[in-house]
C-alpha cells in the first residue's frame, strides 16, 4: 500500500472494524501450519479455513498441502443460529417520485443457497435489494440504517450523483458504523439501469448479498422501443463447498490474484431461476453483473438477441449479438425474441482455461430456464423487434465530443501488479506457466493459488506512465467541462496479468477504441473491461464536480490497491 494519507484511506476501506471481530472465529492460523487434509476436516468444524473446491481437474501444487491464507478467516454470524434471523425476501419494486424517501436497513438475514442455510446480509431484508424506480431528473432520498456488525456505505454505481452521496468512505463520507444511519439524496440525471452496493470490503459485503438495482425511467415511453415484458437479471456467483460458503479473509481479501470466482451461479439470488413466456414474446432483459470477479458470456439459446443499451445510455445503434459479455459492475439492456415453443436455456457459455493442460474447454452453466408456451403472444412485436433502431439523440449528444476522438491522450495508465511473500510453489508454478494469458479470465483455473494469494501479498497497480505515480499517489485535477482522453494499457508483461473492468465514479465516458481500432457504435459507460494485452482509449466527460474514484471493479483487485482519486473543480 502507498504510504501517507492515501495509504490511510486504503486501509480504512480495506479493514473491517474491530467490532467485526465479535463475529469472527478465534485465530487458528498458528494451528494450521503443517496440517494435512485430515486436519482440514477438523478445521471445518472449528470454523477455520478449509480448502476451496477444486473441480477443475487441476492437480494441487506440491508443497501446498495444509497451507492456508495468511489472513484469518471470516464468516458472518459464525456461531449464530440462522433460524433466529428473518428469512430474506426476493427483491421488491419500490416506485419513487421526486422527493420521496425510502428507509432501508442493512441487516443480517437468513438465506438458503444450493441447499445451504446461511447467514447473509440484505438491503431491507431482500435479495437483491429493493428495485428502486425513479423518474429521470428526480431526486430520491434513501435513509440507510446499518444493523450489521461492520461499517458500510452505499455507492450509487453509475449515477452522476452529488459528490456527498457517492458513498466512498474516507473520501466523500465517514463509513456508517454499526447502529448508525446516513441519508442519501440521489439525483438521477440519466435514464437507464443502475445499481447500488457497499464501498467497504466489497469482496465480503457485496458477495453476502448487498446489491440492488436503481431503474431510472425516461419520460419518453418509447425510450427503448416496445417489448412484451421486462425482466431484471442480477448475475452473481458464490464460492461454496459441501459445508457452505468458503470463508472470506478478515483483515484483507483472499483470492487477490484472480478475484473470488464463485462456483455456484445465480440469477436474482437463486440457482434455479425460471421464466415462462408466450410464443413470440419480446422480452427486455436488464442485466447487471454483481459478481466479485466473474465476467459472464450470457447466451439465450437459439433466440434472437439485440443489444439496446449499456451502463449510462442507449447505443447509437441497436445491434444483433449472439451473446452478452458482461464484466463485474457492467449493465446491458438486451431484447430477446422467443419465437419457438419449447425450453430455452439462458446460460453462461465460456471457453474455460486449463493452464495445466494448456487447453481451452467448453463450459456451459445454466442461469435460467425459459419455458416458451405454444400459445402465441397477443401483441406480436416481431416487426418492431426486426427493426434495429438508430438513436439520433444519442448520436447528436456524442457529436459534441467527436473533435476529441483523434487527439493524443491526456493521461496514460498501465495496469500491472507486484507480489511479495507468496508461497514458493506458487511463484515457481507461475514461472513455469506458459507465456500466454487469455485476454479475459473466464474461470478460476488455479483455485488453490488464487485462494492463497491475499491482498497482503498482492498489490494490483494502476500506474500513470507520464509521472510514474501509482494508485493512491496519482493525482489528477480537472474542471467541470473538461473532456479527458485516457489510454489504459493492460500489460501482459507481469507476474499474473488479468483483465480489469475499469470504473469511473460520478462521470460518464465513451470507449473510443480498442487496440487502435475505432469503436463504430458508441454508448455512454461507467465501467469497461480491458482485456490482457489490450489498449483501451476512453473519453471522460468531466460534468460533475467533486472528488471521485477510478478503480478496478474486481473487488479483490480494488482492495489490493487498484484505485485512485481525481478531483473535478467548479
Amino acid at each position: 500500500m502507498a504510504a501517507g494519507a492515501e495509504g490511510m484511506r486504503a486501509r480504512l476501506m480495506c479493514g473491517i472494524a474491530a467490532s467485526a471481530l465479535l463475529l469472527a472465529p478465534a485465530a487458528v492460523r498458528a494451528q494450521m501450519d503443517g496440517m494435512d487434509h485430515s486436519a482440514h476436516m477438523h478445521m471445518e468444524m472449528s470454523g477455520g479455513w478449509r480448502m476451496p473446491p477444486m473441480d477443475m481437474e487441476m492437480p494441487m501444487l506440491p508443497g501446498l498441502d495444509g497451507v492456508v491464507p495468511v489472513v484469518e478467516p471470516f464468516m458472518p454470524g459464525m456461531g449464530m443460529d440462522p433460524a433466529t434471523l428473518p428469512e430474506a425476501r426476493p427483491s421488491e419494486l419500490v416506485p419513487m417520485a421526486d422527493g420521496d424517501t425510502l428507509a432501508m436497513s442493512v441487516s443480517m438475514v437468513r438465506r438458503t443457497i444450493n441447499g445451504h442455510e446461511m447467514v447473509m446480509f440484505g438491503y431491507d431484508g431482500q435479495y437483491p435489494g429493493p428495485l428502486i424506480q425513479a423518474p429521470q431528473g428526480s431526486t430520491v432520498v434513501v435513509r440507510v440504517v446499518n444493523e450489521i456488525q461492520m461499517p458500510t456505505t452505499i455507492h450509487w454505481h453509475g449515477i452522476r450523483i452529488d459528490n456527498r452521496f457517492d458513498g466512498v468512505p474516507g473520501l466523500t463520507q465517514d463509513p456508517i458504523g454499526p447502529g448508525e444511519s446516513f441519508v442519501y439524496e440521489i439525483d438521477v440525471p440519466d435514464a437507464g439501469m443502475y445499481w447500488y452496493h457497499p464501498h467497504v470490503r466489497e469482496d465480503v459485503q457485496q458477495d453476502l448479498g448487498l446489491f440492488g438495482n436503481l431503474l431510472v425511467t425516461s419520460p419518453d415511453p418509447d425510450y427503448y422501443g416496445p417489448a412484451n415484458r421486462e425482466e431484471v437479471f442480477v448475475l452473481d456467483d458464490m464460492l461454496m463447498d459441501a459445508q457452505g460458503a468458503i470463508p472470506w479473509g478478515l483483515d484483507a481479501p483472499t483470492h487477490a490474484l484472480m478475484g473470488r470466482f464463485g462456483n455456484v451461479l445465480m440469477v436474482n439470488g437463486v440457482t434455479d431461476h425460471q421464466l415462462e413466456v408466450e410464443r413470440g414474446e419480446v422480452v427486455r432483459f436488464y442485466l447487471t453483473n454483481v459478481a466479485n470477479s466473474r465476467t459472464f458470456n450470457v447466451t439465450f439459446g437459439g433466440a434472437a438477441v439485440k443489444v439496446v443499451a449499456s451502463d449510462v445510455s442507449r447505443y447509437e445503434r441497436e445491434q444483433r449479438v449472439e451473446s452478452v459479455i458482461i464484466a463485474p459492475a457492467e449493465r446491458y439492456v438486451v431484447d430477446v425474441h422467443f419465437e419457438e415453443a419449447g425450453e430455452v436455456v439462458i446460460a453462461n457459455s465460456i471457453q474455460a482455461v486449463n493452464h495445466f493442460r494448456g487447453t481451452f474447454y467448453s463450459k456451459v452453466d445454466t442461469l435460467s430456464r425459459v419455458t416458451v408456451q405454444e400459445r402465441a403472444v397477443a401483441d406480436d412485436l416481431s416487426a418492431e423487434f426486426a427493426t434495429l433502431r438508430e438513436h439520433d439523440d444519442v448520436q447528436a449528444e456524442i457529436d459534441a465530443f467527436r473533435e476529441h476522438f483523434d487527439r493524443e491522450p491526456d493521461h496514460h495508465l498501465v495496469t500491472t501488479l507486484r507480489v511479495r511473500d507468496l508461497p514458493l510453489p506458487i511463484v515457481q508454478s507461475m514461472e513455469m506457466d506458459t507465456l500466454y494469458v487469455p485476454p479475459i479470465e473466464w474461470n478460476d483455473a488455479m483455485p488453490m493459488m488464487n485462494w492463497l494469494s491475499t491482498a497482503e501479498q498482492v498489490e494490483w497497480i494502476l500506474r500513470d506512465t507520464d509521472t510514474g505515480a501509482e494508485n493512491g499517489d496519482i493525482q489528477w485535477d480537472f474542471e467541470v467541462g473538461d473532456v479527458v482522453k485516457v489510454r489504459v494499457f493492460n500489460t501482459p508483461d507481469s507476474f499474473h496479468p488479468m483483465n480489469h473492468p475499469i470504473h469511473v465514479h460520478g462521470q460518464r465516458f465513451l470507449v473510443l477504441s480498442m487496440d487502435g481500432v475505432e469503436n463504430p457504435n458508441l454508448v455512454w459507460k461507467d465501467t469497461a473491461i480491458v482485456p490482457v494485452g489490450s489498449t483501451m482509449d476512453i473519453l471522460i466527460e468531466m460534468s460533475n464536480p467533486g472528488d471521485w474514484m477510478l478503480h478496478c471493479h474486481i473487488a479483490e483487485h480494488m482492495h489490493s490497491g487498484m484505485m485512485f482519486n481525481f478531483s473535478v473543480g467548479g
Partner: protein
C-alpha cells in the same frame, strides 16, 4: 525459462521485426491499425520449402472483431479475431501459381481457406478459434477455384505462424506440432 525472461525475449523479437517496416509503408490492401497490439501479434516463419522464400519475413497482427462489449467472443465463448498478414520479400508465385492463405485450428482438425495474398499487399481474414495457425501455401489457381472454396491445401507450405494462444502449452507438451520446438514457430528465446 522464466515467464518474464521469455516475455522479454519475445518483446525483442517482435520489436525488431521487419514486418513493422512493411506495415508502415505497405501497398494496397493496408486497412488496419499500423501499430497492432504487440501481445497478439505473431511472426510468420518460412519453411524454406519453396525456392525464393528462404528470406521471407512476415507477421500476423490480430485484433478483436468489433463487438459492443469490448471483447468479442462467439456464443460458445471462443474469441473472434481479425487476422492481418503482411510480408516482406514475398516473390511472385512461381510457375503461375498462387499464394493461398489458410487459417486452421492448431490441431488441424478444421481448415478454412481464407483467400489469395499478392506480393506487396496485406491480407485480412477472420477467425473464431481460440488457438489457430495461419498458413500460406503455393497452390495451382485451378485448385482454389472450386465451388465453396477448397477444403484443404495441396501445395507446399511456404510460411506459417501460430497464434499467441498457441503458446499455452507448457506442462502438456506441444500438441500435434511437438516434433518442432517452439523456436521454429517464432517462439522461444532469441527465436
Amino acid at each position: 525459462m522464466t515467464r518474464l525472461a521469455g516475455l522479454f525475449a519475445l518483446v525483442l523479437l517482435l520489436g525488431s521485426h521487419p514486418g513493422r517496416a512493411v506495415a508502415a509503408g505497405a501497398g494496397g490492401g493496408t486497412c488496419w491499425n499500423p501499430e497492432p497490439p504487440e501481445y497478439y501479434t505473431f511472426e510468420m516463419v518460412t519453411t524454406k520449402n519453396v525456392p525464393g522464400t528462404a528470406r521471407l519475413r512476415g507477421s500476423a497482427a490480430v485484433t478483436f472483431v468489433h463487438s459492443p462489449f469490448g471483447v468479442s467472443v462467439s456464443a460458445d465463448g471462443s474469441y473472434t479475431y481479425d487476422v492481418h498478414l503482411e510480408f516482406e520479400g514475398l516473390p511472385t508465385a512461381p510457375r503461375g501459381g498462387a499464394w493461398a492463405v489458410w487459417l486452421t485450428k492448431s490441431d488441424l482438425s478444421e481448415v478454412s481457406y481464407a483467400g489469395v495474398i499478392e506480393p506487396g499487399e496485406a491480407f485480412s481474414g477472420r477467425v473464431g478459434w481460440n488457438k489457430f495457425l495461419a498458413i500460406v501455401t503455393l497452390e495451382d489457381p485451378a485448385d482454389l477455384a472450386v465451388e465453396g472454396g477448397p477444403a484443404r491445401w495441396r501445395g507446399p507450405v511456404v510460411t506459417r505462424g501460430m497464434s499467441r494462444s498457441g503458446m499455452m502449452h507448457t506442462m502438456a507438451g506441444h500438441g500435434p506440432l511437438q516434433q518442432e520446438n517452439c523456436a521454429a514457430w517464432g517462439y522461444g528465446r532469441g527465436g
